[in-house]
């Protein structure tokens, strides 16, 4: 439920806007904006307090649009305001963006799940269109002409008949006095009238990003701040048994050490605990930390060993599990048809490693916390700081900086809570900076997963029955110590929704206990689910000596909407009527990428191969072709990638292209080297030498992105490029070499050793 209000005369905004400004607020949550006014007036930090989504126009014509989602490189803080600006018929050159603090009245701010555009597209449009109508009304009143005789061009209202025109700035103070028109009077532009939507804008931050002026979390500074580096328990759930900090305190610049309590299970977003070294600068804190002598009590996860755990996962995967979805009678068909094929697939734990490690600055003062954080989820910052410090969430002001990468890691604000806890204990502002080693060892990892697939086949190699069973420690274990089965939203990520038209189908999931924090990473469970399904499909196509594209189309079947009656299918939180699973759209992108890549002309073999995969995730349909060259030494190059997508209406094609190019690189890291392992409960990797990510020499030389023209509602673009790339890359390796990648990554599976 959202309501648009004219808040031009509310005093609370006068710190931000000059007199005579015209400001509209959109209320997304069931909180009275009046309450927001009162809160804001009590707030010392009023000038940076944004009570709600709003657009404001200054009398000088400057437009302020609030960005309430976090910027980590998707250009979202440009793209969403751009949508509003288009409906307002604003002059983009006059737009300034205000980054919102965390505030639940803004609605959801958790910038994850590739959902910013789809969940706020209509809100931004309506707010812009409403403001435009009110400016027209103000002009019509001034000129004493009917509203219907007036129109707009960017930044101006026009009266064609008399040739009069007035700038939005000139009209702001009159518009500010008007009542907000009812929704049925507000006319949205027709798509043909859009100036910015669908054409796109470059990032408002672009020049700052190239000149060192952009401010990330690690760059936040306030007077009198201290720097902290934290030694966390090496094993998840461990705690300090004994501490000797004498040598640490001798390091020049080190002021003190502070113990942080271990979390109370479940871990959720609580600090992991450990010992913080507080110093005058980052380097002194790092150096002091090296001198700490700590005896740890490792706790119940001490025996966690990735090799053993992998065996356990497959033992489970080879036994009947919990049935997630069933069609026909697979048992009967497997009993009848002995022409079966089966395979195991494995994807290890994966770390996010955004280039900016976890970091936050927080100041506790007079019962309130002000934080500056590179966070995807400022409201979660408010919640965890509130519970750690025992203060109300509204007493936590979370300023959102730019993020030096996020990929899901920065939705989990344990590091911000650490800074707040340490500020309270020192009485000074504290900036926590994690080392890369901290980042690698104390991540919320993408789950390690084992998948078992089995098919019974007819004489043309098409499945008459299909069984797929996945086993992985669920993300929900991070929030509920008893959780061992996959939860419906993550099973729905490319597992529950197998789009094949088969007479007998059974989809299962088995239990697994987590021994580290499990979290979501760019495309999450789709990574391992799509890898298994699209690899297995490719294996079946090759066994049947059929063209993989033709075979995939055969399995997908005719265009239809998948029926999830009596199936728990959350559909990424989207309404199924608005965003149904349409197999025709998957077919379209598959055919499109086959055509663009000239698939039919390609011949694989002798170290040169092409692979294909198709997958829907985050409501977007993607098909990807990867070309590889494999040298005699096992060296793998990727000359070209072609990827076709249908994400419904794409508001910013240039940013979308960049996301899919980046997804191919992200997927390259997963296939080549992505693997986190544990021994004796502790993570074995630590930095880019033992957890390598793709470099310029490793990645596709060229990724071509083809965007389907569509008027369907907008879907996600940040994540959906990853899953099909991973499978297509591995399928290309098979086409080139005959070697099937079933265990990721290549660096440890010994296929090319």
């Amino acid at each position: 439920m959202k309501t648009i209000e004219n808040v031009s005369r509310r005093r609370f905004l006068q710190g931000v806007f000059g007199a005579g400004a015209f400001i509209l607020a959109v209320r997304c949550a069931p909180f009275s904006l009046a309450q927001g006014v009162i809160d804001a007036l009590n707030d010392a930090n009023r000038a940076t307090f944004h009570p709600n989504l709003f657009v404001g126009i200054q009398p000088d014509g400057t437009l302020y649009i609030v960005a309430h989602r976090s910027e980590m490189g998707t250009i979202i803080r440009t793209s969403l305001p751009m949508v509003l600006a288009d409906e307002l018929d604003a002059d983009w050159k006059r737009v300034k963006i205000d980054q919102a603090v965390g505030d639940k009245r803004l609605g959801d701010q958790n910038t994850d799940g590739s959902k910013s555009v789809r969940t706020y597209f209509n809100t931004m449009r309506e707010c812009g269109a409403t403001a435009r109508l009110m400016l027209i009304q103000a002009a019509a009143q001034r000129w004493n002409v009917p509203v219907s005789d007036c129109s707009t061009e960017p930044g101006f209202v026009l009266h064609q008949a008399s040739g009069r025109r007035a700038g939005y700035g000139e009209l702001a103070s009159d518009a500010a006095k008007l009542t907000v028109p009812p929704k049925d009077q507000v006319q949205l532009k027709k798509p043909a009238e859009w100036r910015y939507i669908g054409k796109g804008m470059i990032s408002i931050d672009l020049e700052n990003l190239c000149t060192g002026k952009a401010v990330y979390g690690i760059d936040a500074r306030v007077d009198g701040m201290l720097y902290a580096s934290i030694e966390h328990p090496p094993v998840f759930g461990g705690k300090v048994k004994a501490l000797d900090d004498k040598e640490a305190l001798k390091v020049k610049g080190v002021q003190q050490t502070i113990s942080i309590d271990p979390f109370k299970p479940p871990a959720a977003f609580q600090p992991l605990g450990g010992v913080a070294v507080i110093a005058d600068n980052t380097w002194a804190a790092f150096e002091g930390r090296k001198k700490l002598r700590i005896d740890w009590e490792n706790g119940p996860n001490e025996s966690y060993d990735s090799n053993e755990y992998k065996k356990e996962l497959f033992d489970t995967a080879h036994q009947p599990g919990k049935v997630i979805r069933s069609v026909g009678d697979s048992d009967q068909e497997f009993g009848r048809n002995q022409r079966t094929y089966e395979a195991d697939y494995y994807v290890p734990l994966l770390a996010h490693v955004p280039m900016e490690p976890m970091t936050a600055l927080a100041e506790f003062k007079d019962g309130k916390v002000t934080a500056w954080a590179p966070t995807q989820n400022p409201q979660a910052v408010q919640a965890i700081v509130s519970s750690e410090l025992g203060i109300p969430p509204e007493n936590v002001i979370c300023n959102v900086t730019l993020l030096g990468g996020g990929f899901g890691r920065k939705s989990k604000p344990d590091y911000v809570a650490e800074a707040a806890v340490l500020s309270k204990k020192t009485g000074r502002p504290v900036k926590v900076v994690w080392t890369r080693e901290d980042d690698v060892k104390f991540d919320y990892y993408n789950a390690v997963a084992a998948m078992y697939l089995k098919a019974a086949l007819d004489e043309k190699g098409k499945p008459t029955a299909w069984l797929q069973r996945s086993v992985f420690p669920p993300i929900t274990a991070t929030f509920d110590v008893n959780a061992i089965y996959g939860d419906p939203p993550h099973l729905a990520q490319g597992w529950t929704d197998l789009p094949y038209d088969l007479p007998n189908l059974r989809i299962e999931n088995g239990p697994a206990r987590a021994h580290v924090r499990i979290g979501w990473l760019r495309s999450v469970a789709n990574i391992y689910h799509a890898f298994a399904v699209q690899s297995f499909t490719d294996e079946l196509a090759h066994r049947a000596q059929r063209d993989p594209v033709e075979y995939l189309l055969d399995l997908i079947g005719q265009p239809r909407i998948l029926d999830f009656t009596n199936v728990n299918y959350p559909n990424y939180g989207a309404d199924y009527k608005t965003y149904p699973w349409e197999t025709g759209r998957l077919r379209n992108v598959l055919e499109m990428v086959a055509e663009k890549s000239e698939w039919a002309k390609k011949k694989s073999g002798k170290g040169h191969g092409f692979g294909i995969a198709a997958h829907r995730s985050f409501l977007t349909y993607v098909a990807t072709v990867v070309e590889v060259e494999v040298g005699d030494d096992g060296d793998i190059r990727i000359p070209r990638v072609d990827t076709a997508l249908d994400a419904g209406l794409v508001v910013n094609p240039e940013a979308t292209t960049a996301q899919f190019q980046g997804a191919a690189v992200f997927g390259t890291s997963i296939v080549r080297t992505g693997e986190i392992t544990a021994k004796n409960g502790a993570i074995e990797q630590s930095n880019f030498y033992d957890y390598p990510v793709a470099r310029i020499t490793d990645v596709p030389a060229q990724t071509n992105v083809y965007i389907t023209e569509s008027s369907a509602p907008p879907a996600g673009v940040g994540e959906p490029g990853v899953p099909p790339f991973v499978a297509a890359f591995c399928n290309a390796i098979f086409a080139a070499t005959g070697k099937r990648v079933r265990d990721l990554p290549l660096s440890t599976n010994k296929l090319f050793a």
Partner: protein
């Protein structure tokens, strides 16, 4: 006391001579355009110029910066944009942008040494700079664009 020049300004430092230049630039001088990524010269986010060469400031102790001329992203183009920065903007290279200071500083030295780099030259020069967002394709294009423009 360690004397050096940073972006043309004479500076002196009497702290721990083992402190890496990176933290001196960031924490002491407040020049935060240079980034911390790994602390082991593995990612290149901290790349600056020392006497006209690209170095990793995260492993360069202040003692070895004594007497040197340091240039950071903040002063790369003087009062205007450096051709590499212009090319980066034209080709819309950055996503999150965090690694780009280091990428740009590295690319600027590459073009100084090799005004017309081949793909192999670009690989050799840029392989030490990680971009987790995956902007490499555009980085390569932007280096070539900058080379054309300065030719």
């Amino acid at each position: 006391m360690i004397e050096l020049k940073v972006n043309g300004t004479a500076r002196s430092f009497d702290g721990d001579p083992n402190m890496p230049l990176l933290w001196y630039l960031r924490d002491i001088l407040g020049l935060t355009g240079t980034k911390f990524g790994c602390g082991m010269a593995l990612c290149g986010a901290c790349t600056v110029h020392k006497n006209g060469q690209a170095i990793r400031s995260c492993v360069t102790p202040m003692s070895s910066a004594a007497g040197s001329q340091i240039l950071t992203i903040e002063a790369l183009g003087g009062n205007e944009l450096h051709p590499v920065q212009k090319a980066w903007i034209e080709l819309n290279v950055p996503q999150c942008g965090y690694c780009q200071s280091g990428q740009i500083m590295q690319a600027a030295i590459l073009l100084k040494v090799k005004p017309h780099p081949t793909d192999q030259d670009i690989d050799d020069a840029m392989a030490g700079n990680i971009c987790r967002c995956g902007t490499y394709q555009r980085i390569r294009q932007a280096i070539k664009r900058a080379a054309e423009k300065t030719a």
